[in-house]
Structure formats: C-alpha cells, structure tokens
C-alpha cells in the first residue's frame, strides 16, 4: 500500500469537505450546542440553585454509588457536588454522540457518493488500490470526528472550569477518566463505526440509503459507547485502559477486513446488481 496514494485520497476528500459549508456549518452548530451552549446553561443553572429538589436527588444518587465513585465526587456543598456530577458524569455520553455523528455523516457518503457523482469512474480507472481508497476515505471520515472530539472537549473543559471551577476550588476538568475516554476510548469506537459504515457505503445504491443504513450501525454503537463512556469516566483506571485496548483491536480487525473487501466495480455503480 502506498501512503502517498492514501494521503492524496484523504487530502482530496478533506479539502472537498471543508469547502462544503452547507455540510460542516450544521455540524459545527450541533457541536457548539452540545459542547458549549447546553453545558453552559445547565451548569450555570445548577450553580445558582440552593437546596432544591434536584440537588437533593443528585445528592441521594451520589450516596448510592459505589464508594470508589462517590469518593471521586468533589465539592464542599451539595450544589457544588451536583454540579460536579452533571459536568463529569451526566454529560459524558456527548463525548461519543457528537464526533460519531459527524464522522458517520461523512463516512456514509464516502463511497456511494463517488458512484453518484461519477467520480468513482476516475478512481476505478486509476492505479489506486481499493485498499488505498478505503483507508484514504476512512482517514477523511475520522479526521472531522477526532477534530470535533479534541476541539469540542477543549471548549467543554473551558466552560466547565469557568462555571463549576470556582465552587470546587479551581480548574478540575478534564479528570483522569475523561482523558482516558478522549484519548484512548473514543477514537477506536469512532473507527469501529466508520469501518462498518464504509462497507455499507460501498454496498448500497444511493447516498440516502447509505445514511439510513449507517444509522443502523451508529445507534447500537452509541448505546454501547454510552455505557462504556459512563463507566470509564466513573472508574478510569484499569477498566478504561482495557476497554480502549479491546476497542482498538476490534477496530484494527474491521479496518483490515474492510480494506480487503472493497471491490473496484463498486466504484462504477455497475456491480452485480445490474
């Protein structure tokens, strides 16, 4: 496999993507909503509450959590502890949903889009190996998701520290669990989803069908990763590392297999269904 070919493919796709404002502006708005606006308003609101029913309920829930988790909850007052729980535990699933949605939106159209536009004909007649096309498109789909993860969480960290930090004695976010999640667990989950979505993209007949089919893959992975993300944030030590390691192995296997199964005639739109 030629990496210069892979990067040429990925580069062309990324350049095209970043020039398509109608594609990335809605995604930026979605990321802004989940990483900035919702956290800011919800944490500001909790911070202004004193001895309300919500704060009592959160305090009760924390009391019922395992010792290792409840010990991790910082804060002198009930309101501060409630803010910490919401900022660190409740919003954890966003870590998966936003980048996965962004990457899935790109990936689902990756191969079937070439067929629909007719540009697949050029790729099919080119010396690019199908594995180079697959990996190039995988990279082009991963980059927006990873970018959303790192930029989004940097913004999220600023919002959390500015709104909740003063009541917790200073900047506390990201916690160890979040770092494991962002750097080690989320990336392979996005890769797993994309490896499957690209294979679907090569098999379906239209971009609309690809988007429908990708939701079949994305939703279960969001549900699994939701649970995993919450678990890793609550108990970041060994479990997070193991979960990440297993996810990387699965992602590696799926990507290797996906790269081998893309057929050149699928780029032409004349595969065996004709």
């Amino acid at each position: 496999m030629s990496w210069s070919h892979v990067m040429a493919m990925a580069g062309a796709d990324l350049r095209r993507l970043f020039k398509s404002k109608d594609y990335w502006i809605p995604l930026m708005l979605m990321a802004g909503l989940f990483f900035v606006i919702i956290p800011f308003f919800s944490l500001s609101m909790i911070g202004s509450l004193e001895n309300t029913q919500f704060v009592d309920q959160v305090t009760q829930i924390v009391g019922q959590l395992p010792d290792s988790v409840s010990r991790a909850v910082s804060g002198e007052t009930a309101t501060a502890r409630a803010s910490y729980v919401v900022a660190v535990f409740l919003l954890a699933p966003i870590a998966i949903i936003v980048p996965l949605t962004i990457s899935a939106a790109v990936g689902s159209n990756a191969i079937v889009g070439e067929r629909e536009r007719g540009t697949g004909e050029f790729l099919a007649h080119s010396p690019l190996k199908t594995s180079e096309i697959y990996i190039g498109k995988l990279i082009a789909s991963l980059v927006p998701g990873y970018l959303a993860t790192f930029v989004g969480f940097s913004l999220y960290a600023v919002i959390v520290n500015l709104t909740v930090g003063p009541s917790l004695g200073g900047w506390f976010f990201p916690t160890k669990g979040w770092l494991v999640l962002i750097l080690w667990v989320i990336p392979p989950f996005i890769a797993i989803a994309l490896s499957l979505i690209l294979r679907l993209s090569a098999r379906v007949r239209s971009a609309a069908a690809a988007q429908q089919a990708s939701s079949l893959v994305t939703l279960p992975i969001i549900i699994v990763s939701y649970a995993v993300a919450a678990g890793v944030v609550a108990s970041p030590d060994a479990s997070g590392l193991w979960v990440g390691a297993v996810a990387w192995v699965i992602a590696g296997l799926l990507i290797t297999r996906g790269a081998k199964t893309l057929q050149r005639d699928r780029l032409l739109g004349v595969a065996s269904e004709v």
């Binding site: 210069s4 540009t119 190996k129």
Partner: protein, 310 residues
C-alpha cells in the same frame, strides 16, 4: 516479452455479463500499437464495458485480455498506470478547483504534480485552473478530463464518447487534440456512435453491436471488402445527358445522389465511358471517384451483416 508489432490491446473471446444482460459476448478485437482504433456502434453495443474491462475496472467473466502485454485482471495496477481514460461524462470534485482536481490526479498517476500545469496548457484550460470545476462549461470539463487523462503521459488512451454534449466547434477542437496525440505515437481507442467523428482519424475500425465485434480492420481494407466495386460520381451541365449511363457496358448500378453515382465493374472502363458520354452530348462538370465515408461503409457493413443473419 512485448514486441513493437504486438497490438496495444487484444481481446480474445471476452464475455462480461451483468445479471441477465450480456454486455459483451465472445468479443474479439485488437487495437494496434500507435494507431487510432475506433470502436463504432450504437448505444448499448458494449463500448463502455470494453473500456472498463481494458483497465481492469471490471473483470471479464470469460476470455483473455492483454493490454501492453499485461493482463488487467492480474496486473491491473500496472495497466492503469500506463493508460489514461476519458469517460463519457467526465466527473470531477466540483467543489475543488481545476488545479486541485489535476493535482489529485497527478499525485495518483505520476506521484508528483509537476506535470499538471503542462497538461492543462496542452488543452488550453490553464486560465481556468483557479476556478471551482462546478462552474465549468461542458467543453471546459472535457478539456480538463483530457488533461487529466494524459497527465502521466500514458501509452494507451481510452476515450469514451469524448465529444458527448459538446457544441460542434468544441467537438472539432477535441477531435483535433486527439489527432495531435495520435500523431505523437499514442495508441488511442475512441468509442463513439457518431460516424462523422471517427472519419479521418480512424486507422482501425471495430464495428460493435450487441456486445460483439462484427467487423474490424483499417477503413481502406473494410472499404475494399464491403464496397469492392469502384463508384464514380458524374455531373454535367445538361444532366439529362447522363441518363444513358445505366445502359453503358460495365456499369453495374446508377443512383442519383447530388450527382450520379455510377458503380463500375472495373475502373479500366472509365476512359471509354467518358468518351461515350461526351460523344452522346454530355457537357461533363464532374468525374470523381467516390472514397466511401465511414458512414457509407458503416451502413454497408450493417446491411451485409443483416443479410448474413437472415
């Protein structure tokens, strides 16, 4: 080992089936090295499938294909590295500029974008390279597609309906560019259903229909095979004086078509024929041998094959 005399492309009993559609069936033809081969046939004749099989974009179900002495099925990457393709409706990444599209192709085919600007200049598209391709006219897209196809200086160029959708002037320009490439020794395969397009640039013609190659060969050879009797065009100031032609010895057939098209048994009869006409009072303005156009040849070949089929 490939020799100079080997054809650039050789199809031997090639079949490709899509479900119940037999796109090409037992297809045999050669495209000689350094020549312009025209795949001539109506829509659905299997021309595009033939191009796709040539580069290995599709794999044949049966038969053998050789391109530059290589097999597209097993040596596809090498075949594609040495061929250039202009598809019927050239598609590009419309959000990217002409330059970015060419750069992408250059990096894939040549490993560097050094040749991209030169290719654009060759097809006079260099002034539009900083524009997004989405705003290009059909003619500009075709010229960009041609530039993209020759960016790596391919040995074989496959052009599938390259003038589709172009106005007559742009189409003529594209054909001139093809003729120029041919003059530089490239092996070119031109797929078309437009007979006038192939006229004058075809060194070798393959007449395709329903996935088969019905006839193949150089136009002159095909002309002598399918239109063996010489045809002379006569015209005169007093046209009625030409009516007597049909009764002259050695004249097989006479048809009005602008002038009189007289089919002769033998060209040796022509001096006597002219003398007889003049003696009969004809004031001749035109005596010219008919060189059959590809169109005339095409319909003659079709007619001949339909008779054989019957």
């Amino acid at each position: 080992m490939k020799s100079e005399m080997d054809p650039a492309i050789r199809f031997s009993a090639v079949t490709k089936v899509f479900g119940r559609i037999r796109a090409v069936e037992s297809l045999d033809f050669i495209a000689p090295t350094g020549a312009v081969t025209v795949l001539l046939g109506p829509n659905g004749a299997g021309k595009t499938t033939t191009v796709r099989l040539t580069t290995g974009a599709l794999v044949a179900d049966r038969g053998n294909i050789e391109v530059l002495g290589l097999h597209p099925k097993t040596d596809g990457d090498e075949v594609r590295r040495r061929t250039g393709v202009v598809p019927p409706k050239p598609a590009f990444y419309d959000q990217l500029t002409g330059w970015e599209n060419l750069q992408f192709a250059a990096r894939i085919f040549a490993g560097t974008d050094a040749s991209a600007y030169e290719a654009a200049e060759r097809f006079a598209i260099e002034d539009a390279l900083d524009q997004e391709v989405g705003g290009y006219s059909t003619g500009m897209r075709t010229r960009l597609a041609l530039a993209r196809a020759v960016i790596h200086d391919p040995e074989v160029l496959l052009l599938d309906e390259p003038t589709a959708g172009l106005d007559p002037e742009s189409a003529r320009n594209v054909l001139n560019l093809i003729a120029e490439l041919a003059s530089k020794g490239r092996s070119i395969v031109l797929c078309t259903h437009l007979l006038h397009e192939a006229e004058g640039i075809a060194d070798h013609v393959v007449l395709m229909s329903e996935g088969h190659a019905r006839v193949a060969g150089p136009p002159k050879e095909l002309a002598s095979r399918y239109m063996p009797d010489p045809i002379i065009i006569f015209d005169a100031e007093n046209r009625h004086s030409l009516n007597q032609l049909a009764e002259f010895e050695g004249v097989i057939d006479v048809q009005w078509n602008g002038g009189i098209h007289a089919t002769l048994k033998d060209l040796d009869r022509l001096p006597d024929l002219i003398a007889d006409l003049v003696d009969g009072g004809a004031r001749l303005t035109r005596v010219e041998p008919l060189v059959p156009t590809l169109e005339e040849l095409y319909f003659e070949m079709q007619r001949s094959h339909e008779e054989q089929d019957v």
